[in-house]
């Protein structure tokens, strides 16, 4: 399984790890968090809103953020990379604006308690986690009993977990690491994720998709052209092998060079198109 068919998740993980490492190496961590009184009120550094989610500023958060995102890659598989990337972009924009603005409002209300917004994409992770929560069914449940295990379900005291519980636990841990700013970001992210899902956002946000070329998608028409070409070649190959009445395994291995030639053919085709 690993990163098969999840290019967006892979890119983001690499991005978070390398950005966090670089921020640490180049000693520019202080650009990535927001202190409302200093940065917003005194210096008007509103550009911080847009970049505060680009990296984490400590290694624990990097670790848990990366673990959580890696486990949420199933969402990308179930949506397709293009929709997933579009969702990430939309939620990035929303969570860039909403949590800092909310903190600006909350700071006077809570007498300066909400002042600090930690760096890192925790809101986005929680937006994805909301999708995970809504989409993925649990596979099994287990119970941790505080009483003696009863033969029936009656009179049971203990906690029931599912296979998803551990993933939530890691995410919750991530949300609590930079209390209270990270928790606010997590809640906003969850709300954004659910709003996106339930159609509470403007429909153009939900319908918008990234252009295909950004994700390296070829158009359907060209793919079908290649498919036709490949099929023709495979037909020829199978005709020659079935004529010799060989077994399935041999037919399969005999097909392999055909396929390689097809890929070569594809590359040739591309060159020809360019010329």
């Amino acid at each position: 399984m690993s990163f098969t068919n999840t290019p967006v998740t892979r890119l983001i993980l690499l991005g978070i790890v390398s950005a966090s490492t670089l921020a640490s190496l180049l000693d520019i961590k202080h650009y990535f968090y927001i202190l409302v009184d200093t940065h917003v009120w005194r210096y008007r550094q509103l550009w911080r809103f847009l970049i505060y989610q680009l990296c984490y500023t400590n290694s624990t958060e990097v670790l848990f953020g990366v673990i959580t995102l890696y486990q949420l890659r199933i969402v990308e598989r179930m949506w397709g990379s293009r929709k997933y990337a579009s969702f990430l972009v939309v939620s990035y924009l929303l969570t860039s604006i909403v949590p800092p603005s909310l903190t600006v409002v909350l700071r006077p209300l809570t007498a300066g308690w909400f002042n600090y917004i930690p760096a890192g994409p925790t809101p986005i992770i929680f937006a994805v986690l909301a999708q995970y929560h809504a989409m993925i069914p649990h596979l099994y449940k287990y119970r941790i009993a505080t009483s003696q295990a009863p033969p029936t379900d009656e009179a049971f005291s203990g906690v029931t977990f599912s296979d998803k519980s551990l993933k939530y636990a890691i995410a919750v841990h991530l949300a609590l690491l930079q209390w209270p700013g990270s928790l606010l970001g997590a809640i906003i992210g969850w709300v954004v994720g659910y709003s996106w899902r339930e159609g509470l956002l403007p429909s153009s946000f939900v319908r918008w998709r990234m252009p295909g070329w950004m994700l390296g998608l070829r158009s359907q028409r060209r793919r079908s052209e290649f498919e036709g070409l490949r099929r023709m070649l495979e037909d020829e190959g199978s005709a020659s092998t079935t004529g010799a009445a060989t077994g399935a395994a041999q037919g399969q291995s005999a097909n392999q060079p055909e396929r390689r030639r097809t890929m070569g053919q594809q590359i040739m085709d591309q060159f020809r198109d360019v010329l």
Binding site: S2, T4, W79, H138, E198, S203
Partner: protein
């Protein structure tokens, strides 16, 4: 030698050896050798033992691992870096392997929904109210917002919350059959009436059916929120050629569809290592890799034109159809052989039953004969005993018969007895006292031969035990005929009077009718004798 080997092995090797020997029951020394050749992998060693060693699975596994193509069966260790590199290679190149992946049989765990404790329910109630209040406010707010231009207007206003195929709220876990029915219904609602023959049951049932009836199982997994699902269904799956091909009963296809938002289908997706939707897998029995092994012979991932889809399925089915036909023929042959054997068995059973019946009759006849013989013997013994007792009784009784009164005595009964012919005694006259009971007369007649022989037999002081004497004759008078019973109370004076002319008649102890007839005959005889 084997002991030395065992001493030298590490604990894990010893464990492997133990497992291997348990499975194969092979000699320890040979087992150690074959395990060494298999680099102490129990699975490979067992495979070598059962399949022969001409193919070297270790070399194959090494080759497969070097090509980043590790079979699922062997344990897989991977780290992030490796998988980053591997996924690059793998995603660009379709995995080709000689062995197909095993198609697992998936039985979802049934969830039990229980009501929470009432205290928790009470605590959660305000949240429920809060949720409904918030959603009402939001709805109202968004209704107010509906003056906005269409692109900015939230979807929730125009469409309501998503339900059905695309909705995810309240997807309860159902029984596999109900889940399949729900999938079918939602599919129909979303894409209109269609003739796609989805299997109505869980994947486990479909899997078993395909295995039993040697059909191809087509597993389609759809993620309704995926961007490609709609185009895939409309252009590929509902293509008339594809539908008619799947529906054609001669193609032996079982179509199982699942929505990955359901627990069962999600489990299927993970077990079939499906990484891209829409996903189609062709599963069938792969007899070359194990007689009961279901293998995934083809995976079709992502959107593709209907012709490609169809030709890929057809290709896979053609490639493995030959194997399945072989198995089918084999099964038919086995069936015929089994029928033949059962017929033979039943014929044998029938003949065996006949033989048994005969033997039983013979045995019963023998038993009956033996019983009759034993009975005759017992009767003979009893008769002999009786006879002996009878003799004893007669000897005893003869001594106690009252002596004949002297002729001077007046109070006597004079009796003239005509003895039966065969005793040869002829006519006897005797006097009895008048107060002697009738039984005395009978006893005299019975013991006459003892008395007349006058032998000095030893004194018999007591009658035989358990013996009731029965007189085998009757004494009757002629004209008028009167039968005197051997009574002990009635005296001879009362019954006979002063004198009597009596006849002793043999009684043959048969039924009364015969005695009656004899009586009649006897009467005639008496008359004749006169």
């Amino acid at each position: 030698m084997a002991d030395v080997d065992l001493e030298q092995l590490s604990p894990s090797q010893q464990e492997a050896l133990q497992q291997y020997v348990q499975v194969t029951n092979q000699d320890t020394a040979d087992a150690v050798k074959i395990l060494e050749r298999s680099q102490w992998s129990v699975q490979i060693a067992i495979a070598k033992f059962f399949d022969g060693e001409e193919a070297d699975p270790v070399a194959e596994a090494a080759a497969a691992a070097s090509a980043h193509d590790i079979p699922r069966e062997s344990a897989r260790l991977e780290n992030l870096q490796e998988s980053l590199l591997a996924s690059e290679v793998r995603s660009s190149r379709a995995p080709r392997r000689n062995r197909t992946d095993v198609a697992p049989r998936i039985v979802p765990q049934q969830s039990i929904t229980r009501r929470p404790h009432w205290l928790i329910g009470l605590l959660l109630t305000p949240f429920g109210w809060g949720w409904s209040a918030a959603s009402t406010i939001f709805r109202t707010l968004f209704y107010v917002l509906s003056f906005l231009p269409a692109p900015l207007r939230p979807r929730a206003i125009t469409q309501g919350l998503a339900t059905g195929f695309k909705g995810t709220n309240g997807r309860r876990m159902l029984m596999p059959r109900d889940t399949a029915a729900r999938f079918k219904r939602e599919f129909d609602e979303e894409y209109g009436a269609n003739e796609v023959p989805f299997f109505e049951g869980g994947l486990a049932q479909a899997h078993d059916l395909a295995k039993k009836e040697l059909k191809f199982l087509l597993v389609i997994l759809m993620s309704p929120e995926h961007d490609d699902t709609e185009s895939f269904v409309k252009e590929t799956l509902l293509n008339p050629d594809v539908v008619s091909y799947i529906k054609d009963p001669t193609n032996n296809i079982i179509l199982w569809g699942g929505n990955v938002l359901d627990s069962e289908a999600y489990q299927v997706a993970t077990e079939y290592s499906c990484t891209k939707f829409p996903f189609t897998a062709v599963v069938c029995l792969t007899p070359k890799e194990g007689s009961t092994r279901m293998g995934i012979v083809k995976r079709l991932v992502g959107p593709m034109p209907a012709e490609t889809y169809l030709s890929e399925i057809q290709g896979a089915m053609e490639r493995y159809g030959a194997d399945l036909n072989g198995v089918r023929a084999e099964r038919v042959a086995q069936e015929v052989a089994r029928n033949l054997r059962t017929e033979q068995d039943s014929a044998y059973e029938r003949s065996l039953a006949i033989d048994r019946e005969r033997a039983r009759q013979k045995r019963e006849a023998a038993a009956a004969a033996e019983a009759a013989e034993r009975k005759a013997l017992e009767e003979a013994e009893a008769a002999a005993l009786r006879e002996q007792k009878r003799q004893q009784w007669k000897a005893w009784r003869s001594q106690r018969i009252t002596a004949e009164p002297p002729t001077s005595e007046k109070n006597v009964v004079r009796v003239a007895l005509k003895m039966p012919e065969d005793t040869g005694a002829g006519r006897i006259t005797r006097r009895f006292p008048q107060d002697a009971p009738m039984e005395e007369l009978y006893a005299f007649v019975e013991c006459y031969d003892v008395l007349s022989s006058e032998e000095a037999s030893e004194k018999v002081t007591s009658p035989p035990e358990d013996y009731e004497h029965e007189y085998m004759f009757r004494i009757a008078s002629t004209l008028p005929r009167e039968v005197y019973e051997p009574s002990t109370t009635a005296t001879m004076g009362q019954k006979i009077g002063r004198s009597g002319n009596l006849i002793v008649e043999e009684v043959t102890g048969d039924s009364d009718d015969e005695t009656d007839e004899e009586e009649d005959g006897g009467e005639d005889q008496v008359v004749g004798n006169r």
